[in-house]
Amino acid sequence: MPSPLRLCVRRSPAPGAGGAATLVTLQLPSEVACIEEAVELVTRHCLAGHASCRRTRFRLQVVLSEALSNAIVRGNGEDGRKSVHVRAELLADAIRLVVTDEGPGFDPTAVPEPIRPDQLDEANGRGLYLIRKLVDAVQFNEQGNSICMTLRRP
């Protein structure tokens, strides 16, 4: 069965990126079964041509998995008619990942701190916290359905 993932890699100056970059885009369906393959594909492109760094690879894998999971489950509600869009700008000194879903968006400031003692025993609510801890910068669009994560290269 062919993969349902649609990958596009363009080696050209990324618009507004301030220098030559590789732009990787990926569209995937709202299926959690696609997350692992999508994470591996994007991670491989993000690290291609750069010195191997175990820590950076791990961080990329975790934050991509988190962002895709949020987009598919919470954003798109696992609706098969909706897609998730990944855009990776690969700069010389950083990786900028944008994950966008087709849902209504959410308020990232309304998520409780999961390390509070009263939250520690909760099964959910650690995703965004982990992302914030593992990357150098996190931004959301106004609608709250698109997250931009920047990870500096070592």
Partner: protein
Amino acid sequence: MGFSQTKDPSGVAVVQVEGQLIVGNRQELKDLVQAAVAGGERRILIDFSRTGYIDSSGLGALVSISKRIREAGGELRLSGLNEDLRSLFELTKLDTLFAIAGTPQQALASF
């Protein structure tokens, strides 16, 4: 990516997490441990020596599993976390919630 369950000669149920523990397979792990507890297992070790990465859903599944085992009067140990995996537990303070051993052997000896 998957899970395998064996029984240590000391009587501990050992679950190996191979590959990732993420939103797509966390329910499988929860079901496996639930079945073990329902089958009478009370000492359970989950080993991560062959694990790549874990997402927050995977961490959440471990929290649920831990509660279930505790409610049944059992004990859970975790082992085999490399430096990166361990950092996820430390960042989320879950290292304070779980009994974590360096190796499966150390975990088995701690029951």
